[in-house]
Every structure is written in C-alpha cells, then in structure tokens.
C-alpha cells in the first residue's frame, strides 16, 4: 500500500495548472536512530539492514503529489554523530520543515530529540514545520519510549508526531505527506524569509550555475 502511494507520488504531474512547490526539509536526531534509513525508504523505497553512518550530510529529493499541488522535497539528511552537530545549523537554516527522529528503543535518543526541537524553535525559521518521528517501531518489544509520552510532548510543542519504521515502511510516507499538507502552499503564504518557492524556469539556471 505504501509503495503504491509512493509510486503515485513519484509520477510527475504534467498538468500545467497544478502548482509546484519546493520545500527544504531537514532530518535531525541522534546517531543511529534511522534518519538515513527513513529517507532512503521514502525516496527509493529501499531498506539496508546495515546502513553506513552518514558523513557530513546527505542530499536527496523527492516529489509528492497532493490534491492540486506537486510538492518537491529537498531533503537534507544530516549526520547524527556529535562531532557534526556544529554543522547542523547550516542545514536547518532556511528549512521549511524538519523531522526530528528518535529511536523508540532508546530513551536517550528521545531526550536528544527534545533538545533538537528546542534548538529548532530557538534558532530556525519561526514558521518551520517540525515533525517528531519515533523510529524502529518494528522493535516494539524493546520499546523504551512510550507512545503516549511522546505524543504528549508533541502536542505540548505543536509538533506532528508518528511512530515510524523504515524497515517495514510503516508511516514513512505518511509523515512526509502530513508535513507536505501542513506546509503553506500559496505563493504568498510562505511565511518568513524562506517561504516555499515556486518551481519555474528561473530555477533551471540556478542549479546549473552552482559550484559543482
């Protein structure tokens, strides 16, 4: 079911009248909670049991179709290791959405996720949409973080919240779609300096003229 939906989302919507919006999304969270796996599942539908630890950051894009708009996610999957912590502000700066990931089998990662949320609220753009993802829900037997606890925390801070599993693909697409839904799609609606950008012809030269 999930793959079907993701397949539908990937299909480019050729209708000229549909809006195309581009959003910058950043993934944050403790090391080895499954950020990269989550993204890989969302973008490629794959899952690697032994996912390599991310160095610096990874960049992926994925397009999803909503009722009348096409949303293109520019996903910045940051490295969770502490030594890369200082790079994170660079990536969440100007992001319209963030997914803070924790591992439900590890209480510490939840604490770390709370810190990330705090940091985003303080430093990131004020209109940023934050989602909290309790990953590895397939390992519910080893659960250390209660669903209710996390839900309560999310409600308190106005976060989207889902428990996900990159391994079983549970809720992976849902959480991205929920974010896409929550993001302001109107041209003027993009609150803050870094609102959603209309993807148009002007975007093309920009991508070719970059320093790559």
């Amino acid at each position: 079911m999930a793959t079907n939906r993701s397949g539908a989302a990937q299909r480019p919507n050729g209708a000229p009248q549909t809006k195309v919006c581009q959003f910058k999304l950043v993934l944050l969270g403790e090391s080895a909670v499954g950020k990269s796996s989550l993204v890989l599942r969302f973008v490629k539908g794959q899952f690697h049991e032994y996912q390599e630890s991310t160095i610096g950051a990874a960049f992926l894009t994925q397009t999803v179709c909503l009722d009348d708009t096409t949303v293109k996610f520019e996903i910045w999957d940051t490295a969770g290791q502490e030594r890369y912590h200082s790079l994170a502000p660079m990536y969440y700066r100007g992001a319209q959405a963030a997914i803070v990931v924790y591992d439900i089998t590890n209480q510490d990662t939840f604490g770390r996720a709370k810190n990330w949320v705090k940091e985003l609220q303080r430093q990131a753009s004020p209109s940023i949409v934050i989602a909290l993802a309790g990953n590895k829900s397939d390992l519910a037997a080893k659960r250390m973080v209660e669903f209710e606890e996390a839900q309560a925390y999310a409600d308190e801070n106005g976060l989207l919240f889902m428990e996900t599993s990159a391994k079983t693909a549970m809720n992976v697409n849902d959480i991205f779609l929920a974010i896409a839904n929550k993001l302001p799609k109107s041209e003027g609606g993009g609150a803050g300096a870094a609102g959603a950008r209309r993807l148009g012809d002007a975007e093309q030269p920009r991508s070719t003229s970059c320093c790559k």
């Binding site: 610096g56 960049f59 030594r83 200082s86 320093c211």
Partner: protein, 440 residues
C-alpha cells in the same frame, strides 16, 4: 538535472546552498561563511556557532588533512574576499592575572630549586679537601648519592653502562649519569657564584676536568648557569654608567690641571721666570681638550633614550646640566694670559728691582771693607782666587738642573719645573755668594 538529483544520493560535506562537496567540515564552514554570507542577519546569529564549530572540528576532525590543492585554488578567491573585510575586535578578556599566577608559580619552583642547589654548592666548595678520597667523602656527605645498583642505562642518553661507560653522580642532585652527559663546573667559578664578593677569576683557559671541576648533570648545570648569568647581569655596568664614570675621571684629571694653570698664571704676572708663556698656553690647551671630552660625554648621556618624565630622564638631564655648569664655571672661565710685552715689562721691572738690591748690597759691602781696611791698614794684595767657571761644581750642578727643567717642560710636568727652577735659583744665589766671598 532534476532527474539526476532524484536518482543520486549526494553525501558528504555538502554546502546547503550550492551542494558542492567541500571534503571537510572546516572547509564547508569557511566556504559557507564566505560564499553565502549575503543573508547577514541569519548569519550573525549563527556566526558564533560556526566559530565554536570550527574550533571543535579543527581539533577533532582528521579529515581536515585531506585538503586538496585544487580545492584550495578554487576557493582562494572567496577566502581573499573574506580576509579583505576589516574585522572588528570582538569581546576580549584580560588573561594577565592568569599569566601572572602561572608565572609566579613557575618562578617560585625555579627559585627554590636553585636556592637548594646553591646551598649545596656552598657546602661543597667551602673547605673542600684536595685529596681525592677525602673529597669524595666530603661530596657524599653534602649530597647523598643515588644508589646506582639497579640503574642499567644512563637516564639522560639511555645508553647502557658497562666497563667503558661508567656510572657517575651529579655532585649537586646525586643522580646517576654517564661521562658524556655530565658537565663540569670550574671550582673557582663555583666559588664566585656562591660568594659574589670574591674577586672574579678570569675564564680558565685550561679544560675543566674532574680534578678542578664539579661534575653536574645538565639540569643542575643549567640552573646554576642561569644564576650566574643573573649575577653577571646585575654587576654589569650599563652604557650610561660607563659614560658617566669616564666623564668623572676626566673631571678628576682637569681639577689639578686647573690649579696648576692658576699657579703658572700667577707666577707669570709676578714676573717670575719659572714658566714661560708657551708652557702656560699648552696647559690651557690641555684643559680645553678635557672640557671638550666632558662636554661630549655629558651630551651622550643626555641623549641616551629614556621615557620622558621618568627618573632616568631627569637624572640624565641633571648630569648634562651639572657638566655644562662645571665646564662654564671652572674650565672656560680661566684667567686670561698676559701678553708677551706685559711679561717683558713685568720682568724688566723685577730685574731692575733686583739690580738695585744687588747694587745696594755691593755698596754696603764696599763700605764695610773700607772700614776694615781703615782699621787694619793696607794688607797684602789680594790673591785672585777666582776659579775657572767650568770647574766649579756649582755651575755643573746648575747645568744639570737646567737640563732637567727642559725635560720636565717637554713632558708638561709643571710642578717639577717650579721645584727645579727654585732649586736653580738657590744654586745661583749660592754661586754669587761664593764669588763674593772669594773676592773679599
């Protein structure tokens, strides 16, 4: 492009704006700061985070070493632009107190260590027996030697001790070392260090060996050497002091010269023939030269660089003023010399006076003789007992003294000239009296 992005997963130190892989976190940070700093307001809030990040990453990240040359070339332009911007000094904090605390602790440690060594050195060098065995015993009484039975290697150079490389002991700390690692301190030098008032011996030319020196380890030797240097620098005279001492010695030379000059002048005015005008002129020239020297030195002292307003600056100007005053009052304002004509006149007067006196004396004697003749009647005709001038010992003596005077004059020893002249005068007088008595 977009499809490529969809397929590929970029990973690494990606720039969030242009997605270039910067290879290392520090490069990424600097690239981001320099190239994408247009959004200043956001940047400012992040800047300190970047600064902190840079520090952490520079210390921790090994991948920094992977900086490639072409990458450096590529971004040198942006980095230059970044450097061109004038940087404002941010928040600063004085670390002087911390420095002082660290320094004083360290100095304290050195001072106690050095003092301990000096006390030992004092005990060692005072009444040190000359006989080798007694000396060894004396040394071990002052500083207990380390037991070397378990020491297999020289602690300094880590070479093994054997038959040829013997164990030795530092005489100040008692530690073990090999011959190559030991340094020798000359005993005379050691005495001078312990007792700075003792006369300084010049550096010995001969090589210092175990016999005339103390075997020390490098550490002790350095501490002692440091103390020696401190002592020497304390005793060393500064340029200023040397110049001042030179000036004082010139002044001391000038004082008797000035007194002599006054005396010579007076004698000329009195019409005496003891000194002639050229002598006095020469003397004047000498005083002038001394004055010049004093002037030059005092100027040097005044020109010595010193912070204006400090005591040193005040002292320097005071020295200069005192020297100038001394030259003006004592050396330049010498009595003017009489002219040749004046001297001649004075001499003439004196000569006439003397002639007159001699005339009167003769007349008196003549009268006395006539009276005697009247009483005794005409006596036998007088025998001319006049001796040949050349034979007279008095004349000979006078010639010798004249030679002496000439010599003394040449050497500008005017005190001697005066004495000799007086002597000569006495001889002349004696000679005249002798002649007169011969005649009578």
């Amino acid at each position: 492009m977009a499809t490529a992005n969809d397929d590929e997963i970029l990973e690494g130190f990606l720039c969030p704006i242009c997605k270039a892989d910067l290879k290392s976190a520090s490069q990424l940070t600097s690239h981001f700061e320099s190239l994408h700093s247009e959004e200043q307001d956001v940047l400012r809030s992040l800047k300190e985070i970047f600064g902190k990040a840079k520090k952490i990453i520079l210390n921790n990240d090994d991948s920094d070493l992977k900086e490639t040359f072409d990458r450096a070339l590529k971004f040198s332009y942006q980095e230059h632009r970044w450097l061109d911007e004038e940087q404002v000094i941010g928040v600063s904090r004085s670390s002087t107190d911390y420095l002082k605390a660290v320094r004083s602790a360290r100095l304290e440690r050195y001072a106690t260590e050095t003092n301990k060594l000096l006390i030992r050195l004092d005990k060692l060098v005072c009444n040190m027996p000359a006989e080798p065995n007694q000396r060894k015993q004396h040394e071990q009484e002052v500083v207990p030697w380390l037991d070397g039975s378990s020491v297999k290697l020289c602690p300094n150079c880590a070479k093994a001790f054997n038959l040829t490389r013997r164990k030795h002991h530092c005489r100040l700390c008692g530690s073990i070392l090999c011959h190559d690692c030991s340094t020798f301190l000359d005993i005379n030098v050691a005495r001078a260090i312990v007792d700075p008032s003792a006369p300084r011996t010049s550096q010995p030319d001969h090589e210092i060996t175990e016999k005339n020196g103390l075997r020390l380890c490098e550490h002790c030797f350095n501490l002692i050497e440091l103390r020696k240097q401190v002592q020497e620098s304390r005793n060393a005279k500064t340029v200023l002091v040397t110049a001042y001492e030179q000036m004082r010695s010139l002044m001391d030379q000038a004082r008797p010269d000035v007194a002599m000059y006054e005396k010579m002048c007076q004698s000329l005015f009195d019409g005496e023939t003891t000194y002639n005008l050229t002598d006095v002129n020469k003397m004047r020239g000498r005083i002038g030269k001394l004055a010049e020297g004093i002037d030059l030195l005092s100027k040097q002292i005044a020109a010595f660089p010193a912070e204006p307003g400090t005591r040193q600056a005040r002292l320097q100007t005071a020295i200069r003023h005192a020297a100038a005053h001394y030259i003006k009052e004592d050396l330049i304002s010498l009595r003017k010399l009489p002219t040749e004509a004046q001297i001649e006149e004075v001499r003439q007067q004196r000569y006439e006076r003397a002639e007159k006196q001699i005339q009167m004396e003769r007349e008196r004697m003549e009268r006395q003789r006539q009276r005697k003749e009247e009483i005794a009647g005409p006596s036998a005709s007088r025998v001319d007992t006049r001796q040949d001038d050349e034979d007279s010992p008095l004349l000979e003596q006078m010639n010798i003294i004249r030679e002496y005077i000439k010599e003394a004059r040449r050497d500008m020893k005017y005190e001697e000239v005066a004495i000799l002249e007086a002597n000569l005068k006495e001889l002349k007088k004696e000679y005249h009296l002798q002649k007169l008595s011969n005649k009578s």
